[in-house]
């Protein structure tokens, strides 16, 4: 019997608006919680505050110009988004990517995965309340990696470096040493965050059992990425449908067990270590010189008419590009399947029944990027 029936009391459910401006994380996202006492009874997410028309704009830009737009859609893992888009165009146009360019792309994409997860660690810890300490640890390492990105592509976040067929220009001469140095530093950063947070009892009590979702529900909602792997399903697109040269590397795919926030955090932490492994192997295998673009690349790239769907394993999940071309140098339709948008569908399922204070923690653990959700 509920409180009302037992004592003849009338209770009210309040609507709490967790407004478009959050303290310090995630971007402009609004959720309206209906709370009964302290428990969440219902959740309605409102999105669209960051819609910038990326898909429509791409219809007026040719294949090289649209790369900048892909960066800005998924700004925290821009190399991964660029990689997926560029691979889609290559598949449609039938381009062959030279070896050296493939290795460069994989190295940069995996390093970007590491920076994205560092950002997650910082933002997640801030949601939980550590404010500052884990944030700065993650960001210090991220700065080293971003310095490397700046030396290669010229920008720290919006690179526009990949091109259909390869990369825009060659990497500097000291690239391999720099990457190895960055790998060494990153291991220090990962272990710092690990020792600060993983066995910290307060952190564990705040995240264990919060936002759990069962594997069947995860499949039904179409989740992907670390959220899905934390439920125990070992699904990683780099293994299921290896794209680029991922089948040449030896790495593990971490999974969790309970599907709660703590497992998602641990899966991402372990993924960072596996990414470092991939980068080290790639640096060892990379040819020291070679072309970075195919020889017969036309000045204006034109794709034959047709359509293609290309998917890649982004740090947040499965990123998909559906490209329809009518034969010109601009796409007819470019649709982005963003993982954050699909993962957000399960937010209500995960949050109902928990406390208000946990709603923010669960949102943080799904790790969304509003640029992707709203495009």
């Amino acid at each position: 019997m509920t409180v009302e029936q037992e004592h003849g009391l009338e209770t009210l459910e309040i609507n709490v608006n967790v407004g478009p401006q959050h303290p310090a994380t995630h971007g402009v996202f609004r959720m309206v919680l209906t709370v009964d006492g302290e428990r969440v009874v219902d959740l309605v997410p409102h999105i669209g505050y960051l819609h910038r028309g990326a898909e429509k704009l791409s219809e007026n830009l040719d294949y090289r110009q649209a790369i900048g737009l892909q960066d800005r859609t998924e700004y925290l893992a821009a190399f991964n988004a660029e990689l997926c888009y560029v691979m889609a165009v290559e598949k449609l146009a039938g381009l062959e990517v030279p070896e050296r360019a493939e290795y460069i792309r994989v190295i940069l994409a995996e390093l970007n995965r590491i920076t994205s997860h560092y950002m997650f660690m910082g933002a997640f810890a801030t949601d939980i309340g550590v404010f500052g300490t884990a944030f700065t640890y993650g960001f210090r390492e991220r700065e080293y990696i971003q310095d490397l990105f700046e030396e290669v592509s010229g920008d720290r976040m919006m690179y526009a470096y990949f091109r259909p067929g390869g990369v825009a220009w060659d990497v500097p001469d000291n690239f391999k040493e720099r990457v190895r140095w960055v790998c060494r530093q990153t291991r220090v950063g990962i272990s710092d965050i690990d020792s600060l947070l993983t066995s910290n009892e307060v952190f564990v009590t705040r995240t264990r059992g919060i936002g759990a979702i069962s594997p069947q529900q995860a499949i039904d909602y179409g989740l992907s990425g670390p959220v899905l792997r934390a439920c125990g399903l070992r699904v990683d697109l780099r293994r299921e449908e290896p794209y680029s040269i991922y089948d040449r590397f030896d790495f593990d795919v971490p999974t969790g067990e309970h599907g709660d926030s703590f497992d998602r955090y641990r899966v991402r932490l372990e993924e960072m270590r596996q990414s470092v492994r991939i980068v080290e192997q790639a640096v060892d295998q990379m040819p020291d010189s070679g072309p970075i673009l195919p020889e017969k690349l036309p000045r204006r790239l034109r794709c034959p008419p047709g359509e293609v769907y290309m998917r890649a394993e982004n740090p947040r999940g499965e990123y998909g590009i559906y490209l329809v071309s009518k034969g010109g140098d601009k796409p007819y339709r470019l649709k982005i399947r963003s993982p954050s948008y699909c993962n957000l569908m399960a937010l209500k399922e995960m949050t109902v029944g928990h406390y208000v204070a946990d709603a923010v923690v669960i949102l943080g653990s799904i790790d969304i990027v509003l640029g992707e959700v709203d495009r």
Binding site: V16, V18, P23, E38, A125, I128, G129, V130, F131, G132, T133, F135, T136, Y137, R140, L196, T198, S199, N200, E201, V202, F203, V204, T205, R206, R208, G232, L233, R234, R239, D250, F251, D252, V253, P254, T255, G256, E257, H258, F262, D263, R266, V267, E270, Q274, Y355, V356, A357, D358, A359, V360
Partner: protein
Amino acid sequence: MIGDNVWLDAFVRLLAVLGLAILVVLILTYVERKFVGRIQMRLGPMRTGPYGILQSIADTVKLVVKEDLRPASADRWVYELAPIAAFVPAFAVLVALPFTDSWGVRVLNLGLFYVVAVSALSVLGYIMAGWASDNKYALLGAMRSAAQLISYEIPVVLALLALAMVAGSLDLVKIVEAQGRVPFIVWQPLGFFIFMAGMLAETSRRPFDVPSAESEIVGGPWIEYSGIRWSILFAFTEYTTMFGLSVFGALIFLGGWNWPLGLELGWWWQLLLIFVKATSLIIVTLWMSATFPRLRIDQLMGFCWKLLLPMAFLQVFLNGLLLVYKWPDWTLLLTSGGALVFTAFLIYDATRVKAPVRATARGVTS
């Protein structure tokens, strides 16, 4: 006795302690920002004055010139008196603390009792602030804050009671003198642990800062306050309480001005000892604040009532056994230390990562 007038003497000493409290608050705002900044590998304030020393003064000036807002529908007198109601008990704690073996504002023979009782009064200030703001979320934050403060008083009182039983007196000077050979922290680590948890909760610092920081959605009982009024409620009260309780903790647990060689060497050595010990307790508090995430309100209450309270009873029981059966002091170490280890085990077990993440090899699909 200054001048032969009791009132003049009291007045002068009060002024001295008030000055000390204000100075300590100013220093602590700066120290906290620098210290927490260093933990986060950044520099902290650097621009206001050399190495940012004038930061506290800059903050104070800024807060004083801010507009003093008051919601139109707020209960006027309650709203305006709430900061004072929160600050005065924090300051009143400093009145009973003996800083050396012969100097304190007033050395009461019920010193321990007085400190505990008076520091509990600041709850009233928070409730007044939350109620008078005429804001649903302020009231919610104030209720949570009141629940936290009142709950954490109880294990602390019991732990201090246990300590007073062994020391044989409530008079702070006598308690310090009883620690001539060995400070009480050595015999009663469990009591010290309970006291530290209580101190973190009394000053609303992480991990117990549900009232203080953004309670995930809104600001707690002080949302409607601005300017110097907010500063009194928040910064002054918090830092004065932290300072007062640190000196108190140094006196009763760490040996005060007596250990190692207080009574022999004179007042300057005693002052130095007190200063060093209180500073170390403050640094430990700041350090813990910077390291821990925030506990949720229900976990916080569970920690207090389900863990600290039984442990506090246990400590009282053990101390009682010691007194009744006249066991030597070191048995207390065994029992209290054993209880502390057991507490640690309970915390560890409750939060242990039971099923580790499996990073399995390639080729094995689930």
